[in-house]
């Protein structure tokens, strides 16, 4: 069955409609056994997801309340990430911050995926003047550095987690549009799309049933990759103070809070910072695995 997913390595691959295959358990174990980094990445992402959806399981305390008598304690068994300048447990804040940061990231990627995907799909499918018009808009978006564009949007939208997410999402619309357009251009020339035309299928049915599902694969991989970048961008903006107001423990703002205490309490910046780095690396590793690593594995 797996043979069906195999794309020929020839110069002009013929896209094949997506088929669902049942993974072979022995192969899966061998695959993961050779990739400890990927296993770690999966564990990290699983951990972040648990933190986002059930933070109470990992850190039962209240992230917003601390005991000032215990402020700036270094990491210890009682406070594995130490405590901050008001005696709040940094571990609890990181865990509870996961949902905020993840929520922003998911919104950002969703915005980029939906808007970028639609622009690319339309441009690639309709071609002609609409393609030219949309691609020039995308050119303009690509010409502006993403963080600068996000900052400009934030200034217009105002502060807050969701607004940060939208700003980050809009700033990465362009890359999704480009990839989606390229895939659509390829797929719309496939024999089954021509066949669909030939039997008189309406254009929107063709677009929805035949072009979109087969062009979406690379965009989905890009979305996972973009997920990591979006975590960084969202953290950067919340570091700059554009995110949720205090005491919300967004990851970026946790790092920002700690920087005044760097000389006396390294853990305030280092541990949330390492968490962000680990999450981004994990997501990147997974997106690389999704991008054909399994298929090439024998």
């Amino acid at each position: 069955m797996t043979e069906l997913l195999e794309r020929p390595q020839s110069a002009l691959p013929e896209p094949v409609p997506v088929q669902v295959t049942r993974p072979d358990r022995g192969k899966l174990l061998r695959f993961l056994g050779h990739r400890p980094g990927l296993v770690l990445s999966l564990l990290m992402v699983a951990f972040v997801l648990v933190a986002a959806f059930a933070p109470g399981l990992l850190a039962p305390g209240d992230p917003g309340v601390g005991d000032t008598a215990e402020r700036l304690q270094p990491p210890s068994p009682a406070h594995i990430f130490g405590t901050d300048y008001l005696g709040r447990d940094v571990w609890t804040r990181v865990v509870h911050g996961a949902s905020l940061s993840l929520q922003a990231t998911v919104i950002a990627v969703a915005v980029a995926l939906v808007i970028g995907g639609l622009i690319g799909l339309l441009a690639g499918f309709v071609r002609g003047w609409l393609d030219d018009l949309l691609m020039r808009v995308v050119d303009v978006l690509l010409a502006i550095p993403a963080v600068l564009l996000s900052l400009a949007l934030i200034t217009a939208l105002g502060y807050g987690t969701v607004k940060v997410a939208i700003a980050v999402g809009v700033a990465s619309v362009a890359s999704f549009a480009r990839v989606m357009r390229a895939e659509t251009l390829r797929v719309r020339q496939a024999t089954y799309v021509e066949a669909a035309y030939a039997v008189g299928t309406r254009w929107y049915v063709t677009l929805w049933r035949h072009v979109l599902p087969n062009a979406a694969g690379p965009v989905a991989v890009l979305a996972v990759l973009e997920f990591g970048l979006a975590i960084l961008a969202v953290s950067a903006l919340s570091f700059l103070g554009y995110g949720a107001p205090p005491p919300a423990p967004e990851w970026g703002s946790l790092v920002a809070e700690g920087r005044n205490y760097l000389a006396v309490a390294w853990w305030l910046c280092a541990l949330p910072g390492l968490t962000i780095a680990a999450t981004v690396l994990a997501v990147n590793r997974i997106s690389r695995a999704l991008d054909g690593e399994w298929r090439r594995f024998r």
Binding site: G64, V65, G66, L86, P246, N260, Y261, A263
Partner: protein, 534 residues
């Protein structure tokens, strides 16, 4: 146990910084300073820039540190006694009801562009101040009721008010009424914010917004204050004020000898700085302590129960011990303890959660499902507007948020850029403001809380207005203090403002810098300052 290697690495890094600091002159700290040496550049790192270099239009300490050096004032206030001493004015008199003042000016004083500083120049300044925009609130307050000035002779000027104005005299000692050249005074507000000419010991060399303010020594300076320790030109060649928003970077720069002095020291910085041989001079700022003041025209502010409960819910001692430098005191009145006329109100400013809860219960604010109190379906969610012009603000407010949450008040923190401060105050678009105001005269109460002035907090007209006006007219110090005490009691009993902590200015100053002095308002005078050369 895994902590150890990190600590060791950190100690190594800090140690390296410390050695560098010593190289820059740490050894001089132990030796007696000796006679002042002229020359050198003082590099001063401050955290923010108000976007203006006109001393009459700034109110933030970070800007005042530099701009104070550009101008001289009519009088100077002794930081020890609070007495007013001659500066540009050699003597002054006032009429008994404090509506008219006559100043005799030093003769032969010039601005740095060569034009004479005479009675006409002072008149040009005072005539222009009432027309200043929102940025000019401070000097406008000092000139409340200003009718006009009369030039009696080139060295004699009479200033008239339509009502008694006792605080004007102290106002003349501040940077806000520092005298700028008539040509500068005539420019528009915004033009003045880019460049002004004064008669001070330093002149503006360059100003780059949000980056640096550079001043250079004025040669031929003839008008030092009578409180200064020397005459003639200032000792330092140049003053470089760098805007460094990161507190960690400021501290690191000072320890590494990259800068000679820094402002806005946090509690966490004291130990590393003291360990590196840095001087940490501190002085309590007079004026309004840091606190929360409601907009009384909005529903939350208009409800006395909310104001009272908020005050009882705050544990001021915990705030001070957790966030502020060791020299800081909790607020014990709506006026800081170093202000003339201060009267202790600490009996009304205690911490009592049960009382806070009882007050809210009685007013009908009952705990809702999530612990936040609710009345008529409206949650007790107060938006507190604040500016990040001091590193201690954020931790303080987060701590206050925790404290008041325990009695069911949900304090939401809304941060705005400091450059928007005057706009927000003027428009009144806030539920409550966090802030302080430094002034070495109790009249700061009138300019802040009288319903007849700028009335930032939208106070309704009340007998308080009469008391505030009364103290402004009392030239007898004891009588005035008695009135001020009544005002303080009134403000505190009605919780019209909720003072939390007194601002204490702590600077970090390298060991080779000498003669850096605080003035009566806890700002700095750099005329007598000098650096011992390595």
């Amino acid at each position: 146990m895994t902590v150890r290697p990190f600590r060791r690495a950190l100690a190594a890094v800090l140690g390296a910084g410390l050695l560098a600091g010593c190289g820059a002159g740490g050894a001089a700290a132990a030796a007696p300073a000796g006679p002042p040496q002229p020359g050198g550049t003082l590099r001063f790192a401050v955290s923010s820039d108000q976007g203006c270099v006109d001393p009459q239009q700034v109110g933030s300490n970070d800007s005042i540190y530099s701009l104070r050096q550009l101008v001289d004032s009519l009088t100077d206030q002794d930081p020890e006694t609070g007495e007013l001493k001659p500066w540009l004015a050699t003597s002054w008199t006032s009429n008994p009801d404090a509506t008219s003042y006559t100043f005799r000016l030093k003769s032969g004083v010039t601005f740095s562009d060569g034009t004479p500083l005479d009675a006409a120049a002072v008149k040009a300044n005072f005539d222009r101040i009432p027309q200043l925009g929102a940025r000019g609130t401070l000097p406008k307050g000092y000139l409340a009721g200003y009718v006009g000035s009369t030039v009696l002779s080139p060295t004699e000027i009479k200033v008239d008010f339509d009502r008694p104005n006792v605080q004007f005299l102290q106002g003349t000692s501040t940077h806000s009424l520092g005298i700028i050249s008539p040509a500068s005074a005539a420019l528009s507000d915004d033009e003045r914010c880019a460049k002004v000419i004064g008669s001070g010991p330093f002149v503006l060399e360059s100003y780059t917004k949000n980056s640096s303010i550079v001043l250079s020594r004025r040669t031929g300076y003839t008008s030092p204050s009578s409180l200064a320790e020397h005459t003639g030109d200032a000792y330092l060649d140049r003053l470089e004020f760098r805007i460094v928003p990161e507190s960690g970077v400021r501290v690191g720069s000072l320890i590494a000898g990259e800068v000679d002095a820094i402002g806005n020291i946090g509690q966490q910085d004291e130990a590393p700085l003291a360990g590196a041989g840095i001087q940490l001079p501190a002085r309590a700022n007079p004026g309004l302590p840091f606190g929360i003041t409601f907009n009384l025209s909005r529903p939350f502010g208009a409800d006395p129960a909310i104001r009272e409960a908020l005050s009882w819910a705050i544990d001021r001692d915990e705030v001070v011990s957790a966030v502020y430098t060791s020299a800081t005191k909790p607020a014990t009145a709506p006026l800081a303890s170093s202000t003339p006329g201060y009267a202790d109100q600490s009996a009304l400013l205690g911490h009592d959660q049960a009382k806070a809860a009882a007050v809210l219960d009685a007013a009908g604010w009952l705990p809702g499902p999530d612990g936040v109190r609710v009345k008529d379906g409206r949650p007790l969610r107060i938006e507190l507007t604040w500016f990040n012009n001091a590193g201690s603000n954020k931790p303080t407010l987060e701590l206050l948020q925790q404290q008041v949450r325990r009695v069911g008040i949900d304090l939401q923190l809304r941060e705005r850029p400091i450059s928007d401060a005057s706009v927000i105050q003027q428009s009144g678009e806030f539920d409550a403001l966090w802030g302080n105001l430094t002034r070495a005269d109790p009249d700061i109460l009138r300019s802040s809380y009288s319903s007849k002035g700028a009335n930032t907090y939208r106070f309704p007209a009340s007998p308080l207005d009469d008391l505030l006006a009364e103290q402004a007219a009392q030239s007898d110090e004891d009588q005035r203090s008695a009135t001020v005490a009544k005002i303080l009691t009134n403000l505190t009993e009605n919780y019209l403002t909720i003072p939390v902590v007194e601002l204490t200015t702590t600077l970090g100053v390298a060991a080779n810098v000498h003669g850096l002095k605080y003035d009566a308002s806890s700002r700095i005078q750099l005329y007598d300052t000098w650096k011992s050369q390595a």
